[in-house]
């Protein structure tokens, strides 16, 4: 699809080209990166709520010893789906929504390099989510944990003799939802990663050299590379899994000579880069927010950029730290212990440079700033527990306990999600034209901060005191009850906080009670604040010429006498006038085809649930739909002819 370019000749596409730029239906055909970004956000946030509700059920079940709110079988599905949902359908697409919306704006471009591919990514991601959750109606959700170790996930299953209801039959079906669902999601990520890489490298505004790019863009670039290289790994692993469960191959089946450890290698080879895929966008956001509200440039820009790149590379050499207890032997364990520990160095560089950024500044404690500082503080805790995991002999005690659960929620929630919330408050004015309410925002932050620590703090202790993870219940007598009940209370505080956030969005944006933002509500530093809020379809009437890092700041302020910095008289920044200037700019037309092409994928997935002719027919139908979508797409010109105003 990337290669067969549309002809320049005068031709119409096969069907009437969708033209709507507004209204309900426009969302289905849009290829505007901003609208796609909003689609990503809404969908991902919905999945976050779903994953959160699953978490609440987990917490209720574990609130006391020996509770039986849900059956073990259901519990296993819930925690598996909680992990999968949060990682693949909440956090990754939330980052994607930021990339989508902001990349072009922050590098001074009018859109991403491949707008239709972008829409395709979104629809494929949505299709993956729908496919995975369709298991609710079609035989059950995956129940092998998010890393789905073989042979529990393949030939053996949780109930090999099938004494508990019909679980043995359903097992293969659940695993089809896992393997195909993740693969479809992987296609979406792969497509966006290619798109973002090309956009960042190739679509920058004049003067926006690589070393002038905002750190957020750098982190988006590193993240995209990680996705580009990590997705095929999990893709192959999932294919092998699928062949094992559906077609009797022997990749991970020890009974026929396969090696279950290979699955673990493949999963974590993907899995560890994946966790940096989740955190680096948040690191990028923080690197934008802190300078603005400290009124200082980023401390050590170059170090921040290169430490991000270093983390990206080193992240490929640590995967076996998830497998220390598997028994890879002392040599492998030592090597991976070393690489794991030393990844703390570039991460520390980031933390310290952020400290350097706020040091000596004038800090304004707006909600985005609170969340950004929250990330720095909370991620450090999670990072430090990560380093303790790396101490292999001690890891033998920690692994698969709640201590690990504490670690990864500190980095995922206290790190990635805090960063994303900072970004939501920070860029909401740009996206919606209105600031989110500060009072509600601060309530959200503090509830979240407290609830988060109350939920996940005690997990450190209860884990070290012997509570394994992934247990649907536990007995009295281990001394775990008190911690668990506290954690459950904390989870509900987080839920309350999340509700406050949703109310805030409702109140400020939909009820239009939020303060009107104007172009540059925060006195910010980067070029996305030069255009109107929300930006016009074409982003910039006149693409900005970039002469410096923090371009906008330099347009607003110049060094004065001595150590002073003074404001440039008004007019220096390009304010207003976008609409009139830009009226002549024509953006590529909307298209049905990305949606059509995406539609075929889940149909092919569902076919695997059937067998024989039905399977072949469904496969063919799905493939035809996708193929038709792709053909229509390649034949369709970027612009409909004759209407080129």
């Amino acid at each position: 699809m990337t290669a067969t370019a549309a002809p320049s000749g005068q031709r119409k596409s096969l069907f009437r080209r969708p033209q709507a730029e507004h209204g309900f239906w426009s969302w289905f055909t849009t290829i505007d990166h901003k609208k796609i970004g909003i689609l990503y956000f809404v969908t991902a946030f919905t999945f976050f709520i779903v994953g959160g509700i699953e978490a609440l059920i987990i917490r209720l079940q574990l609130a006391q010893a020996n509770l039986e709110l849900v059956s073990p079988g259901l519990y296993n599905q819930i925690f598996t789906m909680h992990g999968l949902t949060m990682i693949f359908f909440a956090l990754m697409p939330l980052s994607a929504s930021f990339f989508n919306y902001l990349l072009p704006l922050m590098i001074g471009a009018r859109d991403v390099a491949f707008p239709r591919l972008n829409a395709f990514s979104y629809w494929v991601f949505l299709a993956a989510g729908i496919f995975l959750y369709s298991g609710v109606f079609l035989g059950g959700l995956p129940d092998g944990g998010w890393f789905n170790y073989a042979p529990l996930s393949t030939t053996v299953g949780p109930d090999p003799l099938g004494y508990t209801e019909t679980l043995a039959q359903a097992h293969a079906v659940r695993m089809i939802f896992y393997s195909v669902g993740i693969q479809i999601a992987g296609i979406a990520s792969l497509a966006s990663s290619v798109n973002f890489i090309v956009t960042i490298l190739n679509m920058r505004a004049p003067g926006m050299t690589l070393m002038r790019m905002p750190v957020f863009i750098w982190m988006a670039l590193v993240t995209s590379f990680l996705m580009l290289f990590a997705m095929p790994v999990i893709g192959i692993a999932c294919w092998q899994l699928l062949f094992d469960i559906r077609f009797g191959s022997n990749f991970f089946n020890p009974a026929t000579g396969g090696d279950p450890v290979l699955w673990q290698h493949m999963f974590w080879l993907f899995g560890h880069p994946e966790v940096y895929i989740l955190i680096l966008p948040a690191f990028g956001i923080v690197s934008e927010v802190l300078p603005v509200f400290s009124r200082k440039p980023l401390f050590g820009y170059t170090a921040l950029v290169f430490s991000g790149i270093a983390i990206g590379f080193m992240g490929w050499g640590v995967w076996a730290h998830h497998m220390f207890a598997v028994g890879l032997g002392p040599v492998a364990n030592s090597a991976f212990a070393l690489s794991t520990m030393f990844i703390a160095v570039p991460t520390g560089v980031k933390i310290f440079n952020w400290l350097g950024t706020i040091w000596g500044g004038k800090l304004r404690f707006t909600t985005p700033m609170l969340f950004a500082i929250g990330l720095v503080a909370m991620f450090t805790i999670g990072g430090l527990s990560g380093v303790t995991h790396g101490v292999v002999p001690s890891n033998y005690q920690q692994t698969d306990t709640y201590y690990v659960v504490a670690h990864f929620h500190y980095v995922l929630f206290g790190g990635a999600l805090f960063g994303l919330f900072a970004g939501m408050y920070y860029w909401a004015p740009k996206v919606t034209g209105r600031r989110l309410d500060e009072r509600l925002g601060k309530t959200h932050f503090w509830l979240n901060f407290v609830g988060f620590n109350v939920t996940f703090g005690p997990m450190h202790i209860v884990g070290l005191r012997g509570m394994p993870r992934r247990i649907d219940t536990y007995d009295t007598g281990f001394g775990w009850e008190i911690y668990n009940v506290i954690e459950t209370v904390g989870a509900f505080i987080i839920a309350l906080a999340t509700l406050v956030f949703m109310i805030n969005v409702l109140y400020s944006v939909f009820l239009k009670k939020g303060e009107e933002a104007g172009n540059d509500p925060w006195d910010a530093r980067t070029v996305e604040w030069m255009t109107s809020s929300p930006p016009p379809h074409y982003n910039f009437a006149e693409v900005p010429r970039v002469t410096a890092r923090d371009e906008l700041w330099h347009r607003k302020y110049t060094p004065g006498s001595a150590d002073e910095t003074i404001r440039v008289p008004a007019g220096g920044s390009s304010d207003g006038g976008e609409e009139e200037h830009g009226a002549h700019i024509r953006m590529p037309d909307p298209s049905y085809y990305p949606l059509v092409a995406a539609l075929g994928l889940p149909i092919m997935g569902w076919s695997l649930l059937t067998g024989g002719t039905a399977m072949i027919v469904m496969l063919a139908v799905g493939a035809t739909i996708t193929f038709a979508g792709l053909v229509g797409w390649t034949l369709e010109p970027g612009f409909e002819n004759g209407e080129h105003a």
């Binding site: 207890a325 101490v391 005690q397 002073e564």
Partner: protein, 376 residues
């Protein structure tokens, strides 16, 4: 679950200054709690070695934590925009190479300090221990642990869920995993267990985890200083009853242990005090019900096909069933009521248990229970 464990833990914690951090900051209940499965309370040299490293890295983590959080909090107060702000833009500092090199180098040095003992300990803990370890083969099955005392000393004793070991002597475990695999590719004879899912053997107070992976033989050494009952758990998610796959290590004085082992090596008793138990024995040795039990369970003296080694069966060895305190993965106390309920419907007690509901009549259940409870 003796309280002495936690006292020792607290005493040990108080000895070190950072212990206060845990006691004050982390331990949220004031009264002496009971943590029999705590990894912070080692009861043998292996666990202690691991704990020593934890203490080292924990102190470092706390120090870094305090420094970073301290710096953040200081900066938040010191550099906040004040009410009476003069509107001046703060000094625009874009970096400081010296500082940046410093905070790259210092963490790296600290980590070298952690890495050296880490690697040392990894190699020390690997492999067969020196001296004359007791050898036990451990088999993880869905959802219980089976233990076979191998070698001359072990006399072929097989038991489940409760691992007896002598104190002050390393116990070298070789571990594998088996499940009841009934697919056309995986199965052996009916009732035979092979190539199971991954489990993880973990007795926190004696040693860290070792995963047990089908197709591989894994090894682990545990050792206890003092007699006691140390709870353990399967720590790798293994299916429906992963939460109910627990076990105990029963450390005994060496002499006591020898006695226990000798008892276990005897075949099951054949004379019963009660008529009911004798009736149970008839049922279990019968061709109808009995064949079923024996297909999955070994009871010395009643071998069905004869060629299956006991630990290749799906179910636990029942020869000395009644000598255990718990059964079915250690979460059921061994008493009449529980055994009866188990025989009636295993899944009701333990979802996913690989023992079928056999449709026994209440009378049969009573009899078999009486028999099983006589198997001391």
């Amino acid at each position: 679950m003796r309280p002495q464990g936690s006292h020792r833990e607290q005493r040990r914690l108080r000895r070190s200054w950072f212990g206060w951090v845990i006691v004050a900051g982390l331990s949220l209940s004031a009264c002496a709690q009971d943590y029999p499965q705590s990894a912070l309370d080692p009861a043998g040299p292996i666990a202690r070695q691991q704990d020593n490293l934890w203490n080292l890295v924990f102190v470092i983590a706390i120090v870094v934590f305090v420094l970073v959080q301290g710096a953040i909090i200081y900066a938040l107060f010191r550099f906040r925009e004040r009410k009476d702000d003069d509107g001046q833009i703060p000094k625009q500092v874009a970096g400081n190479t010296k500082l940046e090199i410093l905070w790259t180098a210092i963490p790296a040095l600290i980590l070298v300090g952690v890495a050296i003992p880490t690697v040392q300990t990894i190699f020390e803990l690997a492999g067969r221990p020196d001296g004359d370890p007791l050898e036990v083969r451990v088999v993880g099955k869905q959802y219980f642990w089976e233990f076979e005392y191998t070698g001359d000393e072990g006399q072929g004793v097989i038991t489940a869920t409760e691992l007896h070991i002598p104190t002050d002597r390393p116990v070298y475990l070789t571990m594998e995993s088996r499940s009841a695999v009934v697919t056309d590719t995986g199965a052996g004879a009916e009732g035979e267990a092979r190539n199971g899912v991954i489990h993880s053997f973990w007795v926190p107070r004696l040693a860290g985890k070792q995963d047990v992976v089908a197709g591989h033989v894994r090894e682990l050494t545990i050792q206890a200083d003092e007699p006691g009952r140390y709870p353990g758990a399967c720590a790798e998610f293994c299916g429906l009853s992963h939460a109910r796959m627990r076990f105990y290590v029963e450390a005994q004085e060496p002499a006591e242990f020898e006695d226990w082992l000798a008892d276990q090596a005897e075949p099951a008793v054949a004379d019963f005090d009660t008529e009911l138990a004798a009736e149970g024995e008839r049922l279990v040795s019968s061709d109808t019900i009995g064949q079923q039990c024996i297909a999955c369970h070994a009871i010395d003296g009643y071998d069905a096909e004869g060629d299956q080694v006991a630990n290749q069966r799906i179910g636990p060895n029942l020869t000395h069933f009644a000598s255990r305190e718990t059964f079915a993965g250690g979460f059921l106390a061994l008493n009449e009521e529980n055994v009866q309920a188990w025989l009636d419907n295993p899944q009701a007690l333990k979802p996913g248990a690989q023992m079928p509901r056999l449709g026994l009549t209440p009378d049969q259940i009573d009899a078999i229970t009486a028999y099983l409870l006589s198997l001391e």
